[in-house]
């Protein structure tokens, strides 16, 4: 270690020049990593715009002409199987489950964060521990109950399960966001005679809005992506997009351009939402969960 005082940082000094050079090298490295990680996605999108013959060539046909064939096939012009019902099912299940998660998680997190109940950390542990148990171990009873109550192949069963799947993480994230609400504001509200509902909607919600948005996004992403429950518990009526996607391959051989088009379309809502809210995502995943 060099204990001599650092050289004054004039633009022309050798130290500054050296630092600038390593700086731009590291920036280059970051760019290369970014492009490397993005490459498979770029390849998926490019392949989705190729004809089936151009999609499956060796070496890859990067410069081949673009075609909407894959998308036309996916939207049912060739096969007659429409992707709209699964897309709508996915949207319904994810949006309703996310709303339910917020409805349940915000008050619970409020109770844990702002007016800590006795043994609040134990309660938080309980919430988190339900997430540690593999959901697959409860799959059979849920399947049997659904079978006996006629809820098999119903989107509402998925809504219930997705809510329970995302609730623990949501409580966990929301609790730390709500801990940011200044106590003075709450005291002032209680002196003014505000009830729980008023306090939640007028004081807590506005302050915690970025946290609520991040929690909602995470819950939406995990619901939209879920495959196992959807595959076991739904069928023709309530099948979601991931189930539809697995069906594309097994039914009639492989059409690479069509599969890539389908994968692109189905991933698009999450990608767009994730890009739009990436700052909130950064905060939500970490500040929210650690603070």
């Amino acid at each position: 270690m060099n204990r001599t005082p650092p050289a004054p940082r004039r633009p022309g000094s050798p130290a500054a020049r050296r630092r600038r050079r390593t700086g731009s090298l590291l920036g280059l490295a970051a760019w290369l990593c970014g492009i490397g990680f993005f490459l498979p996605v770029a390849w998926m999108v490019l392949t989705s715009f190729h004809s089936e013959t151009d999609a499956a060539t060796n070496p890859p046909s990067v410069g081949a002409g673009l075609s909407l064939h894959g998308y036309r096939e996916f939207f049912g012009e060739g096969s007659g199987v429409s992707p709209w019902p699964p897309l709508i099912n996915s949207l319904t299940a994810s949006v309703v489950a996310t709303l339910l998660v917020l409805l349940l998680a915000v008050p619970a997190a409020y109770a844990l964060a702002i007016k800590p109940v006795r043994k609040w950390s134990d309660v938080l542990f309980f919430f988190l521990s339900t997430k540690m148990l593999p959901l697959v171990a409860g799959l059979l009873p849920i399947y049997l109950v659904a079978q006996n109550t006629g809820m098999l192949d119903s989107i509402w069963l998925l809504v219930l399960l997705y809510t329970s799947m995302n609730l623990p993480i949501a409580v966990w994230m929301m609790r730390s966001f709500l801990a940011e609400v200044p106590v003075e504001m709450l005291e002032a509200a209680s002196i003014d005679g505000a009830g729980l509902t008023t306090t939640l909607t007028r004081i807590v919600a506005p302050v915690a809005m970025p946290g609520i948005a991040a929690t909602a996004l995470i819950s939406f992403i995990f619901s939209w992506n879920e495959l196992l429950f959807a595959r076991v518990l739904t069928g023709i009526v309530a099948g979601t997009s991931p189930v539809f996607l697995t069906g594309l391959v097994t039914s009639q051989g492989l059409f690479l351009a069509k599969v890539c088009a389908a994968a692109t379309v189905i991933s698009l809502p999450v990608i767009v939402a994730g890009f739009a809210a990436q700052d909130k995502l950064v905060q939500g995943l970490s500040l929210g969960a650690v603070k």
């Binding site: 920036g27 990593c33 890859p60 799959l139 992506n225 991931p242």
Partner: protein, 327 residues
């Protein structure tokens, strides 16, 4: 917080006092109402979680002691520990425990390390940082089944996948018509699954660690730099201790999700060639073999193992909570 003894002891006396009676009684009543108001917002979430996640586990335990195959419904009855014996003597089950551990540890450690490197790169200012971050988080946003299909068919495929296609292209550049064309998914099936999962989870780790880096106090680092501390020293003695909780959190959340992975195993290898993890094995016993009893016993074993790991992990989490400011 109220003191317990004052709440419980004079319960009979409270009723004897008429409504709006002694100030002490009134105070007790409002205190109790306040306690309820504190707990009430917790209850809906708690009750919901208990019904949807805990009750099915209880049912799973009960079913695990029965002989019950949906293909032979008449032969149903109490099985005692038969299912558990089958689980523990089944080599496939034991193998899938090993696969789950190996898969989870590899994916979590490698993506954590890669995520740390990427977060450190992104924490510095450089031209186009926002674009690079956007490029980097994309794998996390692609639907897991879609990314599994992408890796299996568009990248790994031996005859037209991008990996072998690129090998062909590179070899041709040097005038060779005999490029190596490995069959990635048969030659190293578990690694094929792991690579796709590492690709998917590294951005998640990076996001958590990046926010950790950005919440560092810059004045301490500036002061250390003024004192002539090297970049490595700053990383070792300032950044890493600060990041500890973020690293723990990333590892914990990553483990929770990777242990339960189904999509990649199901799609890329269909559990073949030693890649069947526990969720996939249970899925098979239940969905394909229709052996409800044994699937439940497998589930219970998984839950017990998870509880062991969870207790260990919760200790880590408790270090996350230790510095908590309780209000």
């Amino acid at each position: 917080m109220p003191i317990r003894t004052t709440e419980t002891a004079p319960a009979a006396g409270v009723r004897a006092v008429p409504r709006g009676g002694s100030p002490a009684a009134r105070a007790r009543r409002t205190e109790r109402a306040k306690n309820w108001a504190r707990r009430a917002p917790l209850l809906p979430a708690l009750v919901f979680l208990i019904i949807v996640t805990q009750l099915p586990f209880v049912a799973t335990v009960v079913i695990s002691f029965t002989r019950w195959n949906a293909l032979a419904p008449e032969n149903r009855g109490f099985a005692a520990l038969d299912n558990y014996r089958a689980v523990f003597t089944d080599p496939a089950m034991r193998a899938s425990v090993g696969t789950t551990v190996l898969l989870t540890v590899t994916v979590v450690l490698v993506s954590l390390l890669l995520g740390l490197v990427l977060a450190l790169l992104l924490d510095r200012g450089f031209r186009g940082r926002g674009i690079v971050r956007t490029l980097l988080i994309t794998p996390f946003l692609v639907v897991p089944v879609a990314s599994a299909l992408l890796w299996k068919h568009a990248l790994y495929n031996a005859s037209y996948g991008l990996l072998n296609g690129s090998l062909t292209w590179i070899w041709r550049l040097f005038g060779s018509d005999d490029p190596p064309q490995p069959d990635w998914m048969t030659d190293s099936p578990l690694a094929a699954v792991e690579v796709s999962l590492i690709w998917q989870w590294t951005p998640f780790m990076m996001l958590i660690l990046l926010a950790g880096l950005q919440s560092r106090a810059t004045d301490a680092i500036e002061a250390a730099r003024m004192d002539g501390a090297s970049a490595f020293d700053i990383f070792r003695y300032l950044t890493l201790p600060h990041l500890r909780r973020y690293l723990e959190l990333a590892a914990l959340l990553g483990t929770v999700y990777v242990v339960q992975n189904f999509d990649a195993v199901f799609t890329i290898t269909s559990g073949g060639l030693g890649t069947a993890n526990l969720p996939y094995t249970i899925y098979q016993t239940f969905y394909q073999a229709h052996d409800y009893g044994r699937a439940s016993a497998q589930g219970v074993v998984v839950v017990l193992c998870s509880l062991l790991v969870a207790t260990f992990a919760l200790r880590t989490v408790s270090s996350l909570l230790r510095e908590e400011v309780t209000r």
